[in-house]
Structure formats: C-alpha cells, structure tokens
C-alpha cells in the first residue's frame, strides 16, 4: 500500500468565464478512487463543487473527467495509481458549465439524428418470437456495452482539437450506428448517413477512442473500420464507380 496519508487533490474550479486548479488536502483511505476524494471535498470543503456521478461502479458513465490530463471515469480510477498528488479537470471537448460539469447535450441531439432500429415488415408483424443465434448477436453486444461516458468523444481530435461537431458525429455514434447496422434484424441502410451527416471520413483511425473506452469496446477495429469498409464497397470501389459512370448503376448506394 501507499505510505501517504494525505492526497493533494487539484480540482479545476470555474465556469464558462474561466477557472483554475484549486488544491485540496484529502485524507486517504485504503482503496480510495478519485471520485471518493472529489466527493469528500464536496462534503467537507467545497459544498458547491459541481460534479456528475451516479452508480459509482463504472456502469452509468456519468463521472467522466480528465485525470492528470487523461480522460477517465473518476469512479474507476484508484488514487493509488498516482503519487501524493493528482489533478482533475472537466472534459475539454465540451463547454464547461461549472467545475467538473460540462455541456454534453450535443451528444443527445446527435443520437436523435440517427435513424433507430428498423426491422423488416415481416419480422415486425410476425407473431412468433424471433430466433437469433448467440454468435450472430455477440458482435452487436460489444457495441451495446457502451455506457455513454463520452470519453471517446472527448479524446477524439476531430471533436477536441478541431471542434468539427457539425461535420463528424464522433466515435460514440460510430459505435451506435455499428450496433444498428450489424444487428441481425435491422434492415435500414445507414451508409448515406455515414457518408453525409455522420462524417465517418473524418476519422483517420488513430485509435485514441479505443484507448480510453472504459468498457474496452474496440471502437476503431470493430465498429469504425468495418463501417468504413461498407462505405468503400459501395461508394469508392473503382469497378463500381466505372460502371456508375457508364450509367450501368450496379451497386449504386441509395443516396
């Protein structure tokens, strides 16, 4: 165990107008995670410290923050991983509301723009319960593990450094689209969306999102790259492209 009995916890305090790291001296308990330390500060030193949290068990994805500059869930980050000091700051890709709380409402708007699960008319009206095999559903189960912590959105340089929120929906929603596209019973074609509003072309597969995912979803390898391949097959295949130009229309995507 660590020998320290106090932690120098530096929490970013401020709002949209600006702010700074403020130091708090927190008594350390065995097995303490960063969220425990932040909540201790809230209960004992700074009652109005704004922070989001719910389940405290890495299942709800509320307590996302940048811990010593790295996007992580506070509830899943033992302070023993750090020395006697650690800093906690709000996610940088989203506007600060106050302290550690950011405005993530854009993500909820994006979700509304993605056409929902759409089974075939036949499946929808069938009176029999559906049959699907485990190996056929396991692929989408990985994507459906997403707890919407938005850490992948935070670390994505398209959103974080270039703020291209209107052009690229971000890794979270590539995963969302993959979970629908690869669902055995979904029949909708979301390739036009991927090419257009979702902006999958902006992703240049640096895998930063995969690295920060607390659910260990292989965002790049299992969601984004297969989606990009679907796109390439229909839009950028040289043979099909030639056929299209000749007006033969084979494999023409629906948009």
């Amino acid at each position: 165990m660590m020998e320290i009995s106090y932690l120098d916890l530096k929490i970013w305090r401020g709002d949209a107008g600006g702010g700074e790291l403020v130091s708090y001296r927190v008594p350390v308990r065995e097995g303490m995670v960063v969220l425990d330390a932040v909540l201790w500060v809230q209960a004992n030193m700074a009652a109005d410290l704004a922070v989001r949290w719910n389940c405290k068990a890495a299942k709800c994805g509320s307590c996302s923050a940048e811990i010593d500059g790295f996007p992580r869930l506070m509830c899943k980050t033992p302070i023993a991983e750090y020395g006697g000091e650690v800093s906690v700051a709000p996610m940088k890709a989203f506007a600060v509301i106050k302290d550690l709380v950011t405005d993530v409402s854009w993500n909820y708007q994006v979700n509304k723009e993605i056409p929902p699960f759409t089974p075939s008319e036949k499946d929808l009206t069938s009176s029999e319960p559906w049959r699907m095999q485990q190996q056929d559903v396991e692929r989408v189960m990985e994507f459906r593990k997403c707890i919407e912590c938005f850490l992948c959105q935070d670390v994505c340089h398209v959103l974080r450094a270039h703020d291209l929120k209107g052009a690229f929906q971000g890794p979270r929603f590539m995963v969302r689209i993959a979970s629908l596209e690869m669902h055995p019973k979904d029949v909708l074609d979301r390739r036009p969306l991927l090419k257009g509003k979702a902006g999958i072309g902006y992703c240049n597969v640096t895998k930063c999102c995969t690295e920060v995912c607390p659910e260990h979803i292989h965002i790049t390898d299992n969601a984004i790259i297969p989606l990009k391949e679907r796109m390439d097959d229909s839009y950028f295949d040289p043979v099909r492209s030639l056929l299209r130009r000749l007006g033969m229309g084979a494999g023409k995507p629906s948009a």
Binding site: A47, D48, R52, A57, K59, V137
Partner: protein, 587 residues
C-alpha cells in the same frame, strides 16, 4: 432571496424519472396520442435502472418448459410473504413475457439459447430459470432500448438535470409541478393533465447502499405531500451481496447472477452456511433470508476479515465467468484488486430497494390522488414484504406501460392550460426552496444527510426492535427540525450548487425515513425484509394487513388496512406451489 420568476411549460403527461418505468410510461402515453414530457434529475440514460444486472423475470419458458405465469405468480407472492397486492402480481406474471419480447422488437439484444430463443438464467427464489438477460448488464440494455424508443417517438420531450420539488393541484387533482434546473437554479412551472411518478427509491437514507445520490425518495415524499397514501413503507430490501471492501466501494452491488451462475457463500471457517438457513434453496433462497444469514454469520464471529461472507465462483472456468459476469469480473479487478476467477469475493448486505412506496391501483397505477400515477420502485404492492431478483425490471415494463396509458387517458378529462393553480402555494414552495441560499452559515446539508444515514443504519437495521425504532423516530424528528433551518454548506450561488440541491433532497429523505420507522413500529411481527428481534415470528393474522401512511393535520399517520382475499384460482396457484415456509419462519 425573493420569489423568483419561472418559465411555464405545458404538456399532457408529465413523467418524473427517466429510468425503465418512466421511459416505458412515456412511450405508452405518446403511443396513446399524448404530448409527453420526461423530467429527470440526472442525464438521460444514467438512471438507477442501469445498475440492474441480473435480468428480467418473465415466464417465457424458453429454458424450463414447465414454467408458467401461475408459477411466477406464486413465486412472487411467496417471496413477498403474501402481503403483495395479488392483482398486481397476477398482471405482472401474465404480461411480463410480452413486455420482454416487445423490447426485443425495439432493438434489445438478449443472450440466446442454442435454439436461438432468449436465454433465461436461474435466480433466487424463482422456481425455474426465468431471467432474460444480457451478461450482467441487463439494466443497461433495457434503459438504452427504451431511451432510443422514447427519443425517436413523436411527442416525447426530455428535460434533463431538472428536479421537481412540489406537485400542484387544481380542484383536487394534480395539474402541475414546480421544478428547478440543476445547472442554473432557474425555475419551471409545469402544467399537465396527468403526472406519472417514476422516480425510484430512497436507499440514500442509509449509509451502505447500492443506490446513487439520486435515490432520495423524492416521488414518495412529493406524493405524500400532495395527500397520496403510501403503503408498506417498512419494507426495504437489503441485497445480500454488496461489496464490503475497500471502504470507498462499500455497498456497491454484486449481482445475484453470481449465485445464479453457481457461486457459493462460505464463512471464515469454510462452511457453506446457507445449509443451515435454507437447505433446499441454499444460495438461491430469497434475498431477505440470505441477507439475514450473512448478517447472523458475521455477528457470530464467522465473518470475513472485512465483516462479510465469502462469495466464491472460482470452481467455474475463467472463460465462463468472464462471459457470464463480465462487469463483475471488471469491477472486482479494478476496484478491489480481486480476480474473481481465482479468488473469492467478500460480500455483505447493502440497502438496495424499497418494496413500499406510493399506493397504486393495480390496473392503472393510479394513486389515491386524482391525476397522479406511479410506477416502478416508487410504487408499492407488487413485491409485498420482499422482492425477488429480476422482478423489478419486469415491474418497470409492465406497470410503466399501464401507468402511461392510464395517464394519457386521464388527460382527456382535464383542462391542461386552464387549470386554476394556487398562486399562494406556488410562491410559498419557491420561498421554501430558496430559503437555504439565504442561510450560508446554516447547518451543512451534507452533515445532516450523514446524520440521517447514521440514524437509519443504527436504528432500522437488518434486524430491528421496537425501542430502537422508537429512538430512531425521535432522532429523525429532531433532524427534521434542523433540516428546516439548514443552509447550503456555505455558498449562495444558484449555479450547479450540489449543497443547495442536497438541502432539498433532505426533505424527501426525512419523509421516507419517518414513514419507514412509523410503519416498522406498527408491524409487530417478522415478515420478509421486516425482521424484529422483539417479534421474531410471523403473525398469520397480519398476512392480510398492509400499513398505510398518510398526511393528516396532526402529522404523519399510520393505519392498518385489510386486503380483500385472493380469488380461488390464485389461492390455488399459491397453495399448489407452497411446499413450505422458509425455515426461519417455522421457528
């Protein structure tokens, strides 16, 4: 701070809470043609439903062909020690399979049997394998499916991070609510034709709980304040298996799925002690029995180093554990540095669920106040004295849908925009809400919250007694006086001020705590989750009795009420499966 201005928002059905029940109610009300507004304290998709791990109980008989609604009904009644609302238990057992299949058609993906049907796992006190599940993250699957269904449905709008602090009535029926936005403290007056409470439980009044900061019993307190009856408030569930170590994670849930998949409980002598408490069902006995067994082992000095029991699943193959219980594997590895494929877990009871809550009509979720409906954990009746694992997710779906439909139908009879609200009542409620901001040096709300938790933990523990409950009640009444004068912990800002928010939560917690203690004092027997050392036996005469809590000019009143007897076909279903009471009750 003077009474501030507020924005007025109008809707047909106002839903409080965006967990499974709230979202299912919203979808149902919108399908019935109503404009729906869902208000939630956190962000959408973060509600407590995500914490449900094990599964949804539904007699689909995909794994055990013998299963039927009658057996599910009987299991639920037996688990609830017969004080359940039998009509709710019947509706629940009959309708939950359809609700699960419907989720699948909305995009939910469950684990499969080899035939491609929805797989069902065994769970405590369910006669047959009955829980449809997705690994150990079923709640997340359920909430994400409902969330997507709701946001893509015409007529459903969501207000996130908004807390309702007062229900408003016009001519005796609920016609609106007052709320504040957490981000900036601005106020909203909602006008509605009907209101569905789906705000969850009150576990936060205890120190060791699997519940989040949100579970402060707001719905029960708001309903009580509006004149609605509460029922079975003495019945709160200790989940047998919460984490005990390290201190920071104490109380976090360890899914019953661990035992469903074969996990065994042992004391520090290596004994599989459940043999002495329920020889037939062992670890898969009902939660009240397992929780008390662990408690007894610890008190007898046979506990683990950190005061719990060992839960061991290492006899299963590592790959099996990782595929069936992935989030448990991750949770213990990350938070406790324990590899559950090789080492036992340490577990102890943790406050988990309120069986009691607002009294509702079985078919509609209507409370005793016109225009007010309730579904899910905030409601009462289905689970009686003890809830079976898996029955909460099916509860949300079955009764969320029914409450949403009934609320939408009720809107037709009311005039949303023209309802005459009491301006004096509105001004007073806002003044009360703002008062702590003017008392920066007042008592710290966090300190008071901790004191409430200390009182409840000490005075209403897993095994209770009359004098302890009475002492607890006196302390809660004292804390109520202190809370009326409390501040915000130092800051007078309206901007995302959790100290101020907590000062509001205290009021709800205190109503729940008082109702629990008063009801527990009245129920002079041991039954299900309510165990009393001064009345250790179950009193058969009390099988037909529920305790109701109501507001009166003299303060909180508790009264006993007799239930109508079950019709013969239901009584026979129970009788048929009733081989015996649990050994604890035979004593």
């Amino acid at each position: 701070m003077s009474a501030s201005s507020y924005e007025t928002v109008e809707t047909d059905v106002l839903v409080l809470g965006a967990g499974g029940a709230g979202l299912r109610a919203a979808v149902a009300a919108a399908e019935a043609g109503a404009r729906v507004l869902v208000v939630c304290k956190s962000l959408l998709g973060k509600a407590h439903t995500v914490m449900a791990e094990g599964g949804v109980a539904a007699a689909m008989h995909n794994v055990a062909y013998q299963d039927s609604w009658e057996v599910h009904f009987a299991d639920t009644m037996k688990g609830g020690k017969l004080i359940n609302d039998w009509q709710m238990a019947e509706i629940h057992a009959k309708e939950s399979p359809d609700r699960v299949l419907e989720l699948e058609r909305w995009g939910a993906v469950f684990d499969r049997t080899w035939q491609g049907r929805i797989h069902q796992r065994p769970f405590g006190a369910h006669t047959y394998p009955r829980l449809a599940h997705v690994g150990d993250r079923t709640g997340l699957e359920l909430i994400r499916t409902l969330q997507d269904r709701a946001v893509h449905q015409n007529g459903v709008e969501v207000h996130m991070e908004v807390t309702v602090f007062k229900l408003l009535k016009a001519e005796g029926r609920v016609a609106g609510a007052l709320a504040y936005r957490r981000a900036d403290g601005s106020l909203i007056l909602y006008r509605c034709g009907a209101l569905v409470l789906a705000s969850g439980g009150a576990g936060k009044m205890y120190r060791v709980t699997s519940n989040s900061w949100e579970s402060t019993g707001d719905g029960t307190a708001l309903a009580y304040d509006a004149g609605a009856q509460l029922r079975d408030m003495e019945m709160v569930q200790f989940h047998p298996t919460g984490m005990v170590w390290p201190a920071g994670v104490r109380g976090i849930l360890v899914t019953e799925g661990v035992r469903g998949e074969g996990g065994v409980l042992r004391n520090n002598e290596g004994e599989r002690f459940m043999e002495r408490y329920d020889r037939d069902r062992m670890e898969l006995s009902s939660r009240d029995v397992v929780a008390r067994a662990i408690n007894s082992e610890v008190l007898a000095g046979r506990g683990t180093p950190h005061g719990g029991a060992f839960l061991d699943i290492t006899h299963r193959k590592p790959d099996f554990i990782k595929s069936k219980l992935p989030s448990m594997y991750e949770q213990f590895l990350k938070l406790a540095n324990v590899d559950i494929t090789r080492q036992p877990m340490e577990v102890a009871p943790t406050i988990h669920y309120a069986m009691g809550g607002v009294r509702v009509a079985a078919e509609t979720g209507a409370t005793t106040v016109p225009g007010l409906y309730a579904a899910g954990e905030v409601a009462s009746g289905l689970h009686g004295a003890n809830r079976l694992g898996g029955n909460s997710l099916s509860d949300l779906l079955v009764f969320g849908k029914r409450a949403g439909e009934a609320a939408a139908a009720a809107v037709n009879h009311s005039n949303v925009a023209g309802a005459r609200l009491d301006q004096g009542e509105i001004d007073q409620a806002i003044a009360d809400l703002m008062a702590p901001l003017d008392r920066p040096a007042g008592e710290s709300p966090y300190k008071l919250q901790a004191e409430i938790q200390d009182v409840m933990t000490a005075q209403a523990p897993i095994v209770r007694d009359g004098p302890g409950l009475q002492a607890g009640l006196e302390k809660i009444l004292e804390l109520k006086k202190l809370a009326a004068r409390c501040g915000t912990g130092g800051s007078g800002t309206l901007a995302f001020n959790p100290g101020w928010h907590t000062s509001q939560d205290l009021r709800s917690m205190l109503v729940n705590a008082e109702a629990l203690l008063r009801s527990a004092i009245e129920r002079k027997e041991s039954r299900g989750a309510h165990a009393r050392s001064d009345f250790p036996k179950t009193d058969d005469h009390l099988s037909e009795v529920n305790y109701m809590v109501e507001k009166s000019p003299q303060g909180m009143q508790v009264k006993a009420e007799r239930r109508a007897a079950m019709p013969d076909y239901l009584a026979q279903a129970v009788q048929h499966s009733y081989t015996r009471y649990t050994p604890e009750e035979i004593e």
